[in-house]
Amino acid sequence: MTAGPRRVGLTPGEIVRQAVLVLFGLLALFPLYFSLVNSFKDRVQYAENLLNIPSTLHPENYAVAWAQIQGPLLNSVIVTVTSVLATLVLASLSAYAFALMDFPGRHLLFGITFALLLVPEFLTLIPLYVQIRNLTLPSNYLAIILPTIAAGQPFAILVLRAAFEAIPKDMLEAARLDGAGHLQLLRRIVLPISLPILISVAIIRLIPVWNEYLLPSLVLDEAHRTLPVALVNFQGGGAATAVTPNYGALMASYVLSAVPLLVLFAFLMRYYIQGVTSGGVKG
């Protein structure tokens, strides 16, 4: 049915609903506000008041924070971008095979890939750590990139296969008659048509990769460690420790580490929302 122009009025109920939503929304964003205002304070200002915007700013906190996290920030970008792109490339190849090619063992192999969604992460964490420790890799980055690509395959293949299957067969067969090979079909037709879905999968997958802490903390050496690992190290032990850290610089590092995702989501937010709500990830 076509909903007529709904009345955009402000009834009392509407005002209450919006007030509750604004309150919850601000609470969810509060950690960001807290980090931002306190990143400009020195120790004394921090001890005096945790919530105000400081009268004299201390931007030098950002210099201290930047010196600490610029390396890890770059590492995180390298690891995340490489992992997500490689996940998409490999998953596209596999999803194409599962969706559009006929070969013996298709169902069995798809089942094998799909079943991985049921293998919990903590089960493989320690063996993976031992395995990678004993492996001689050309670059330490690969110690986290390769397992991350593998971990992303089931979800990406599942979503892409459904998308590829929905492409009209006529279009593919016409190109096929013109003499295009599978690789050409994939590159010239299937991938361009599926671009919005590829972006959705990339951005949904990007969040957990960017936030990943456990395996990187185990397998990456100091020069290659990623942002979450560096933040924990920078902070110097848990909140239960007695040492008072340099909060200003700490908060500045938190703000800096939110910037890349903030920039990304400024452009790609709708792909994330579409991806999650499109039904591609419904169980």
Partner: protein, 307 residues
């Protein structure tokens, strides 16, 4: 017509299995990188975990088979008992936190008048995912400190008596970790429920209106039953996630004070990385996996049984 080899709608029963295998080579080539990676980095470690659970593996040397010794040790270990209790509390409260705030928010937004307004608020509740999860953890860790925000707020409203170091007190440490991020509205869960509400046909709402089901009664009688698949999925994911979650106790409390915030998954991690008892750690991991599989099966059975 044979101009379209390899396309699925045109299977060729004339060929023998061997010929079909040979014709299928491009497909196998396409799948090869994925299969190699998941084989080596997902299936092989899982195989190692399950088989080494029956050994005295130390992570370096050749393991000796010890039968079910590790499992007997795990079920009789009092620390494991405390950890399991902590996990049970975490799973139950975590389930409520995963379901209630996102449901409340998606209902409120869905009932707003006007597409633009709904879109704006939907965006507002997705924005917090730009905060890296470790940052959220560490900022909240600072809230809980004795000189932190929580105690400051309590003092400013005249409740100084309640001030304490939330993560160092065995009585509050576990709950502090569970409620970390409160009232965190998980963007994924929220979007899932919101999409579910949008998928309900307008006729159903119109019929409900005629029957006099509005407001809370509509939510209870129409929305909740029709959101069952989404709620079920969120519940399963929350349970699985919380059974294996141990990052906040690892980073903020190391499982302490005492064993107040130790959960089995954290125990598994420490047993391997700190004590070097990899075989025992894998036994704990296998027990947890059995629990995850059982709970997943149970919830699927529950949601199917009442349909």
């Amino acid at each position: 017509m044979t101009a379209l080899p390899g396309f699925r709608p045109s299977p060729s029963p004339r060929w023998g299995t061997l010929a079909r295998l040979r014709r299928g080579w491009p497909a196998y080539l396409f799948l090869l990188p994925t299969l190699l990676l998941v084989g080596y980095f997902s299936y092989y470690p899982a195989y190692i975990a399950v088989t080494r659970a029956f050994t005295d593996w130390d992570g370096l040397n050749v393991p000796n088979f010890t039968g079910v010794e590790n499992f007997q040790r795990a079920v009789s270990d009092p620390v494991m008992g405390q950890a399991t209790l902590n996990m049970a509390i975490w799973v139950v409260l975590g389930l409520i936190l995963a379901l209630v705030p996102p449901l409340l928010i998606s209902e409120l937004i869905f009932h707003l008048r006007g597409q633009r307004r709904q879109y704006a608020y939907r965006t507002l509740f997705v924005i917090p995912i730009v905060i890296p999860s470790l940052v959220l953890l560490l900022v909240w860790g600072s809230f809980y400190r004795s000189d932190g925000l929580l105690n400051n707020l309590l003092a400013s409203v005249g409740l100084s008596g309640l001030r304490h170091d939330w993560l160092s007190d065995p009585g509050t440490a576990l709950y502090s970790l569970i409620f970390l991020g409160f009232p965190y509205v998980d963007a994924f869960n929220f979007l899932l429920l919101y999409a579910g509400l949008q998928a309900i046909p307008q006729d159903v709402f119109d019929a409900a209106k005629i029957d006099g089901a509005t407001g809370w009664r509509r939510v209870l009688r129409i929305d909740l039953p029709l959101l069952r698949p989404q709620l079920g999925l969120i519940a399963v994911l929350a349970i699985i996630g919380n059974v294996q979650y141990f990052i906040s106790p690892l980073v903020l409390t190391s499982g302490g004070p005492g064993f107040a915030t130790t959960v089995p998954a954290l125990l598994m991690y420490f047993t391997a990385t700190r004590d070097g008892e990899y075989g025992y750690a894998m036994a704990i991991a296998v027990l947890l996996m059995i629990l995850v599989v059982a709970l997943t099966g149970l919830s699927r059975w529950l949601s199917r049984g009442s349909r």
